[in-house]
Every structure is written in structure tokens, then in C-alpha cells.
């Protein structure tokens, strides 16, 4: 292979190869990492991160950013738990969580797509409003479930054979995201808006409406995640999900460096979430302190992005 081909190959698959190397590293240094049981555990641990990252991928593919996801999730958690306690209705509780995510998404979309506020500022401000709302509502305390229907726990804690239910939810949403992003007009238009908004406008695409949709989708993914999270924890935690933002951004940055596309993809979100979760999982097995893991994750992202930039990949991330 000549030098250009190598460059091309590394650019396309460098991040994936890096992930495989990290995988091998953990497999060699810890006894329990490379087991079927741990593989299922990683899939389960990554499921929520993957779902939110997929939602975020829509926003980012259209050239946007959503800072509100972590705070929105907490709000959905406590609302869901309260409605479940008050009504005992699983359907109503689920709708409440989805509705909360959608309302926050719609607010973001309204400000960014229609009122044309810069997305960082607008979604950051919406996040702040959301944070205040959930703290006011919950007083910062979890909303414990009083007598939830047993079926509610199936969502976050159940298994089908050896496979946890959240893994199925994740795979379902992955498939839907892949189809929408890669095989529908909506997905095509979203990528066009991210690639060249003027070209999208000239082509007769309703740019504002489609940017609005991306924030709705992001909000919806947050609502779905809140359902699984609250089911897993058995209570509506106002602060659960706050640290998601960092991981989701890491995943989407990795996704952007992957497959040489220079833009976030559904497959990239999945692989990126796997890599980030595997890092958490492996480092925990190596008894690395929890907070050191954040440093490691940050370095991995920096390394991946740096490598693609050095290799001439045009990474379309706003502040790069």
C-alpha cells in the first residue's frame, strides 16, 4: 500500500482500530473484561448513552448543538415518577417523559431554527431554565416510586434470555436512526443543511422546519432515555443524566472522526458509545478512580480528532 492509501485507511478506520486496540489492551490486562457476561454488561451500560447520542447526531448532522440534554433528562425523570405515582398509569407516565423531552426540544428548536439564536447560547439557556424547573419541582430530591406497576421495571431491568431489555431498545432506536439518517429525505436534508445551508435553501428545502425537527428528535431521545433510566433506578432522579452531556459530546466527536465522513453518523454514534463505555468499564476493572476516567476519555477524544485533522480529514465541528 502506498502512503496515500495508508492515510486514507487510517483516516477512515483509525478510530475503530484505536477502539479495537483499547479492547485488546483491556482483554490482556484484566481477567474478566473479555467475557460474554462483560460484553453484555457493556452493551447494557452503553444503551442510554447510545440513544441520546443518536438523538444528538441528528442535531449535529444539521450543523447544530444541543447543550440542554443532561438537564432535560432530569426534568423528565422527576415528572415521569410523579405522574406514575399520581396515576399508576404506565402509559401516562411514559407519555409524560416523552412529552417533557419533546417540549424542551421544541423550545430549543423554536429559539434556534425560527428565532435564529446561536444554538450554543439558546440550548444552554434552555438547559438552565430546565435545571431551575426540575430543582424547583423536586427540591433536588429524588421522587421515589410508591407502587409502580411491575411492568415498569421491565423496561430498565428486565432481560430477554441473557440480553437486557435496554439493549433491545437501543438496537431498535439504532436501526430507526440509521434508516432515517441514511435512507430518507429527512436524513438527506439534515445532512445537506449541515453541509451547506445555502445549498439546502436554494434546493427548496425548508431549512428552518428541518432544523426544528432535529431538536425535537434530540428531545425525544432524552425522553426515551429518561424512561429507561428511571425504570433502572426505581426513582425519578433530578440529577441523573447531567453527566451525559460530556459523554454524548465525546461520542459524537468520535463519530465525526469515524469512517472518514467528517460528519456524525448513526453507525459512528454506536461505535463511539461502545468505545466510551468500554473505557469506563475497563478502567473500572483496573481500579482507576472514577474521575480519572473523565481525563482518559477527554484524551481519547483529543487524540482521535487530532489524528483525523493531521491526516487531512475535514472534521466539521464548529469550534475546531
Amino acid at each position: 500500500m502506498n502512503r496515500d492509501l495508508w492515510k486514507h485507511f487510517i483516516r477512515r478506520y483509525g478510530t475503530v482500530i484505536g477502539g479495537v486496540l483499547i479492547f485488546i489492551g483491556f482483554a490482556v490486562t484484566t481477567p474478566y473484561f473479555f467475557t460474554f457476561h462483560n460484553f453484555l454488561l457493556i452493551l447494557k451500560q452503553m444503551s442510554l448513552l447510545t440513544i441520546v447520542s443518536l438523538g444528538f447526531t441528528f442535531v449535529m448532522a444539521a450543523g447544530g448543538f444541543d447543550m440542554s440534554i443532561g438537564f432535560a433528562m432530569g426534568l423528565a425523570n422527576v415528572f415521569l415518577a410523579s405522574v406514575l405515582n399520581a396515576t399508576g398509569s404506565l402509559a401516562l407516565a411514559v407519555l409524560t417523559a416523552l412529552g417533557t423531552g419533546l417540549v424542551v426540544g421544541a423550545l430549543n428548536g423554536l429559539l434556534v431554527a425560527f428565532l435564529r439564536l446561536p444554538d450554543f447560547i439558546a440550548t444552554f439557556a434552555v438547559g438552565s431554565v430546565t435545571y431551575g424547573a426540575k430543582m424547583l419541582y423536586s427540591g433536588g430530591y429524588p421522587v421515589f416510586l410508591v407502587s409502580p406497576p411491575r411492568s415498569f421495571f421491565t423496561i430498565g431491568q428486565g432481560t430477554v434470555g441473557p440480553v437486557p431489555v435496554p439493549v433491545f431498545i437501543m438496537l431498535g432506536i439504532l436501526i430507526v436512526s440509521l434508516v432515517v439518517l441514511n435512507r430518507t429525505k429527512l436524513g438527506r436534508h439534515i445532512y445537506a443543511i449541515g453541509g451547506n445551508p445555502m445549498a439546502a435553501l436554494y434546493a427548496g428545502i425548508n431549512v428552518r422546519r428541518k432544523r426544528f425537527y432535529t431538536f425535537l428528535i434530540s428531545g425525544l431521545s432524552v425522553g426515551i432515555t429518561a424512561i429507561v433510566l428511571t425504570s433502572r433506578l426505581g426513582s425519578g432522579q433530578p440529577e441523573a443524566g447531567e453527566n451525559f452531556l460530556l459523554d454524548v459530546i465525546s461520542v459524537c466527536f468520535l463519530s465525526t472522526t469515524m469512517f472518514g465522513e467528517g460528519e456524525p453518523t448513526g453507525a459512528g454514534a454506536f461505535v463511539g458509545a461502545f468505545i466510551i463505555t468500554m473505557l469506563n468499564n475497563g478502567l473500572t476493572m483496573l481500579n482507576v478512580p472514577y474521575h480519572v476516567q473523565y481525563i482518559t476519555k477527554g484524551m481519547v477524544v483529543i487524540f482521535a480528532v487530532m489524528l483525523s485533522v493531521l491526516l487531512g480529514q475535514k472534521v466539521r465541528i464548529k469550534f475546531l
Binding site: R183, R188, N196, A199, A200, A203, G204, E263
Partner: protein, 251 residues
């Protein structure tokens, strides 16, 4: 002027301001089927602004647009396209990391049960370019990897593959090789023969004189000339573009 049905397109009294800049002031502009109209003027004269209003990108501050005698309002490029007004913008309007078929079918993708028919779009894109006499080997490559001429071909191919009634080309020949320029001019003649109204913007007055039926001159947002090409020459046009002359025929 109560009726405006003698022209395919008629723009009347168009005004457009950008902050402190009066980009267009009270401009009248019309098009008939089967004519090629050259739109010329110095940089910043307002040519692109005028055609962006006609293609639905900008709303005019004042003025009316009639299409086949009917008053129309373009809220977006979609509305203009719906009437058969297609535009090749000055910046080409291509998505760099999309391949050729994706660019040609952008905004009007072929789907079945809501899913893109990638193969069908590739086939039709190839056919459309072939009809234009444009051969692009790397159809699946991102268009940013194509040469300027090939990118222009994609942009033009997209505009005319929809059976439009009006084709607007904003500096389509800039940065093209001589051979490619001739292809574009030839294409405009073919469109004219098919009864399409063509707007041609160019800084190369020889090209404009060679291919157009009528020339409209803008200077600092004001229409200062509208004359049959047969009565025009380079000196006159230049004088109108930069000087103090004013010529208006017909109406």
C-alpha cells in the same frame, strides 16, 4: 398598467435594502418564453439580488412579481421552483460532501415507501448529464473533489433536469475553461429553442453579446439599460455600466 399577461415573468418596481445599502431601487424586469436575457452590471450592481428575489431566496421590500399574468409571492425557493423557475446561483449551491446524484436530486429525491431510491437517482442523474453532453466518471465521489467545470455541470444539470420554464444562471461561465464556456452557451441556445426563458449573468460582455436577445444593465441598484442585443455593442454596454448613459426600449 392593469394587465401584465404579455410576459412570462414580470417584476415591477422591485426595491431591496440591506442595512444602509440600497441593493435595488424600483427595478422593472421581464422575461418572455424563448428569449435569452443578459443581465449585466459592475460588481455590487444588484444582479444577484434581483435574481435571488425571482428565485424566492429573498423577499423584496417593495414591488410585485407576476408569473403568466398572475401575481405571485415567493416565500421560499420552493415556491419559485413549483412554477418552473430554476436557478444556478453564483456560488453554485452544491453540498460539497454529497455525491453527484445526491446534489442533482437535492430537495426532490426519488423515494419509494418513504425510502430513497439511490440506484434510480444515480441512473437518472447519469442520464440527465448525458443528455447535456456532460460526462462525469466519478458520479459517486463527493462533488468537492470534482473540478470547477464539473461542479458547474452538476449545478446546471440539476437546474435543467426538471423541465423548467425559466432558467437563471448567475455567472455560470466564471472560472470555466473556454471549451466549457462554449458548452454553457450552447446549452442556453438549446433551452431557448425549447421555449425556455433564460437569464444569463456574466462579466464577459463578448459572451453576453454572442448569445442573448436582450440586455438589461444595472448600475448601483438601478436599471439603466434594457435594449435588444442587436442594438448593443461593448462600448455602449460599458458606458451604461459605469457611465452616465441610460437606454430603455419597449416596456
Amino acid at each position: 398598467m392593469p394587465v401584465a399577461d404579455e410576459h412570462l415573468v414580470e417584476m415591477r418596481g422591485i426595491c431591496k435594502r440591506f442595512g444602509g445599502i440600497q441593493a435595488l431601487l424600483d427595478v422593472d424586469f421581464w422575461l418572455d418564453p424563448g428569449e435569452i436575457v443578459g443581465l449585466v452590471g459592475d460588481n455590487g450592481a444588484g444582479k444577484s439580488t434581483l435574481i435571488k428575489i425571482l428565485s424566492g431566496v429573498y423577499l423584496p421590500d417593495k414591488g410585485e412579481i407576476y408569473f403568466q399574468g398572475r401575481r405571485v409571492h415567493f416565500e421560499s425557493p420552493h415556491d419559485a421552483k413549483a412554477l418552473g423557475i430554476e436557478t444556478v446561483h453564483q456560488d453554485r449551491g452544491l453540498v460539497g460532501n454529497f455525491d453527484v446524484p445526491s446534489n442533482i436530486f437535492l430537495g426532490r429525491e426519488i423515494t419509494r415507501f418513504g425510502l430513497l431510491r439511490l440506484k434510480a437517482m444515480e441512473r437518472e442523474a447519469r442520464a440527465a448529464l448525458q443528455r447535456l453532453g456532460m460526462e462525469i466518471a466519478a458520479l459517486r465521489a463527493p462533488v468537492m473533489n470534482l473540478s470547477g467545470g464539473q461542479q458547474q455541470a452538476v449545478a446546471v444539470g440539476r437546474a435543467i433536469s426538471t423541465q423548467p420554464k425559466v432558467v437563471i444562471m448567475d455567472e455560470p461561465t466564471a472560472a470555466l475553461a473556454v471549451k466549457e464556456v462554449h458548452k454553457v452557451l450552447e446549452l442556453m441556445r438549446r433551452l431557448k429553442d425549447e421555449g425556455v426563458a433564460v437569464v444569463f449573468i456574466s462579466h464577459v460582455l463578448q459572451e453576453v453579446l454572442a448569445v442573448t436577445d436582450r440586455i438589461v444593465v444595472l448600475r448601483k441598484g438601478i436599471k439603466v439599460g434594457d435594449l435588444p442585443t442587436s442594438e448593443a455593442d461593448i462600448d455602449l454596454i460599458v458606458k451604461l455600466m459605469v457611465g452616465t448613459g441610460e437606454v430603455n426600449h419597449g416596456g
